[in-house]
Amino acid sequence: MLKKIRVGLALVVFVFITLYFLDFTGLLPDWFNFLTRIQFVPAFLSLSVITVLVLVVSTLIFGRVYCSVICPLGVFQDVTGRVAAFFRKKKLRYKFRRARTFLRWSVVVVALAGFLLGVPVLLALTDPYSAYGRIVVSVFKPVYVLGNNLLEFIFTHFDNYTFYRADVSIQGWGAFVVAFTTLLVVVYLAWRHGRTYCNTFCPVGTVLGFLSKYSLLKIRIDHSACNSCSLCETNCKGFCINSKEQRIDYSRCVACFNCIDSCNKGAISFSYGLAKRKKQQTEMDESKRKFLTTAVLSTAALPAVFAGNAKSDKAKPTPMAPPGAISTQHLLDHCTACHLCVSKCPTHVIKPAFMEYGLAGMMFPVMKFSDGFCNYDCTVCSEVCPNGAIKPLTVDQKHLTQVGKVVLNLDHCIAYRDETNCGACAEHCPTQAVTMVPYKGALTIPKTDQSICVGCGGCEYICPETGKAIYIEGNPVHLEAEMFEEAETKEFDFGGFGF
């Protein structure tokens, strides 16, 4: 029964969070983003005290239900395991393995140190929710869009325009390589090794595993009924049941409840501390000490390794964090590169960074105007971000948020150089920070005013000159733009047509 509830809930969360990441047509209402807000690391980074408390307390009561129900990467492994079982002739039998405590805590320390010492990519790489987000956006979404385009092809053939073609292209190759590698590793491990990923690499799994040792309700073995048949052990994808010793390593139990159903003797229960506990061994003391010293030493060297890379190239333009990010630093301090903003940006302005923020900020969202520009009235990225890395903006606030400033290189401008009308930049400028002014006779040329520019990139995107005569220079710290002056209003007198 418990297992059925677990599977049901997990599937609902998993299907909808995946669909929420994939959806580009507004299929799912906005409130589905609550599924991203109950994820551990985003809640932690956005300082959602209540969410973190609920997750911690629920772990202290039920064990790692976060891992078995809420975490999409966790459930994805279960799904993969199921698929693997379908293709397998003989049922896979798991066997108890010893805990890899040193490795587990090393990852936690590295991720945390990265976060504290300005190498946020490390936490981003290891956070399971974000890793899954990247897999969906970089690997699954192109497939999803291809499917959509196939449907579009069929429907349009019959003059039905319900579906429309969407862009299949991958938004960032660096992020794709990372996401695809993560996918391969996770699928490989889930195929044969159950939840090994969660119990070896995942820092959230490690922290929650630590908490779940002290949880109120636990999987417990009734030693009087147990005959050490090992059925539970062979069904334990956490590899945490030692049936011979009738002992469970609770730090690795993901509360899947598979063992309960597998036991013929009814010796396993999910219950409050009634069953007698065998004394746990304290094998890890020495390894803990060794681990701590290595961890401290190795992490001390980390920032130096990454920092050198970040500051190497002065000539590079300042990268632009999406509006609402406050500053590049704020973004780097809070983002874990789940790429929800990348997926949801309707104009494909937000891309996973390659080296724009340096190696330390690889895959973090950066604005690029190669495929589009930031819609003046759009606030989607700020609404969906679960990390508080891109803070919510109202449309009015967005209108005055300056992520960068326009820079005009008149010598490259077609109107000025070739003396033919163009005006594509001013055409796209919502505040007329770029406006066309009279030059020679009928010819107009662009003129810029940085104070009212919001850095939407319309001018840069549309400039037909291959070298771009106009572009946006990013603001490392976002500024407040001045409000543009409105035009003089006029009334028409309806006197005549004028011809």
């Binding site: 309707p346 759009c378 033919t420 163009c422 005006g423 796209h428 066309m436 011809f499």
Partner: protein, 312 residues
């Protein structure tokens, strides 16, 4: 002559009596109607009404929609849906006008009406917030996307001086007739955006235009073999400044007017002169109009035309 006409009509009536209402009869009756009219109207200008009502009046002055849309025709209606702007901001063609045009097409017997534009802002937002997607669908038209290159086909433009070929949206190419429905706007680059400028929404690569003498390319694309059967200029609201997008409602003037003609150069000349009453933009600054006349697409000589000016 009268006798011949009478006999002809009698013969037609006789045939018609034997055939049930069908396309052939429809065409015959229509031919009789127009020849009886005699005078042809080159341009209709209407002022003072609501968008739908002004179009009804204008098209009836031109001889009715059935003169241009025959039974079973596949029609493309091309508004300006370039911007993510509400109708009040006049960045796009008025949705009520589009709805009325679609209705008239169906009333004239059109089998299908397609509406599309190659937008500047995100097309989903443009279609939705312009009110055109809703209005068009309600009127029974199909709303087609135009945001990907695959919707466009390469076509040669033999009369073009700079633009020799372009990728044109398939809704235009596959239609029996198409109706061009621009909105009258100030334009920083082309100076004014009217019927000719609205052609930039039927092509895929607009950057080519901007790179290679915008004003000539606009004229060139209008020399396309498949010309719009009607040009309907929406001047219900006119974007007088900061076009073609506009900054705020202060850029908009309520002008409650509409211009209709088959001659794209004439209708743009008329609309440009009309615009000149609000803001001073000399006609010769809107060079693509003059370039259009040079390509023999139409005439700027309004003096020689039969123009109906109507105040509602």
């Amino acid at each position: 002559m009268d006798r011949r006409k009478f006999l002809g009509a009698l013969a037609v009536a006789g045939v018609a009596a034997t055939i049930k209402a069908n396309g052939a009869m429809h065409l015959m009756s229509q031919n009789l109607g127009t020849s009886a009219d005699g005078t042809s109207v080159d341009l209709v200008a209407v002022m003072g009404g609501e968008p739908g009502a002004m179009f009804q009046r204008a098209i009836s002055e031109m001889g009715g929609m059935q003169k241009f849309v025959k039974k079973g025709f596949k029609v493309a209606v091309k508004p300006n849906i370039g911007w993510d702007r509400a109708p009040e901001l006049a960045g796009n063609t008025n949705p009520e006008l589009i709805a009325e045009i679609i209705k008239q097409c169906f009333d004239a017997g059109a089998s299908e009406v397609l509406v599309f534009d190659n937008t500047c802002d995100d097309w989903v937002k443009c279609y939705k917030n312009s009110g055109i997607e809703d209005a068009a669908k309600k009127a029974g038209a199909k709303v087609m996307p135009g945001h990907q290159e695959s919707y466009y086909r390469q076509v040669s433009i033999p009369k073009g001086i700079v633009l020799k070929e372009a990728k044109i949206h398939e809704a235009i190419l596959d239609s029996d007739v198409w109706i061009n429905v621009p909105v009258l706007k100030h334009h920083g680059g082309a100076r004014l955006s009217i019927s000719m400028k609205n052609h930039m929404g039927i092509v895929w690569d607009r950057r080519f235009f901007h790179r290679n003498d915008l004003q000539q390319c606009i004229a060139d694309v209008c020399s396309l073999d498949k010309k719009a059967v009607l040009n309907v200029v929406d001047a219900y609201r006119t974007l007088k400044t900061n076009g073609p997008r506009g900054k705020s409602e202060a850029d908009v003037v309520l002008t409650k007017s509409l211009f209709l003609s088959q001659d794209i150069v004439a209708v743009d000349t008329a609309a440009a002169k009309f615009f000149g009453q609000i803001e001073d933009i000399p006609l010769d600054h809107v060079k693509h109009i003059e370039n259009g006349q040079k390509l023999n697409i139409g005439s700027m000589d309004l003096e020689k035309m039969n123009i109906k000016r109507i105040q509602i």
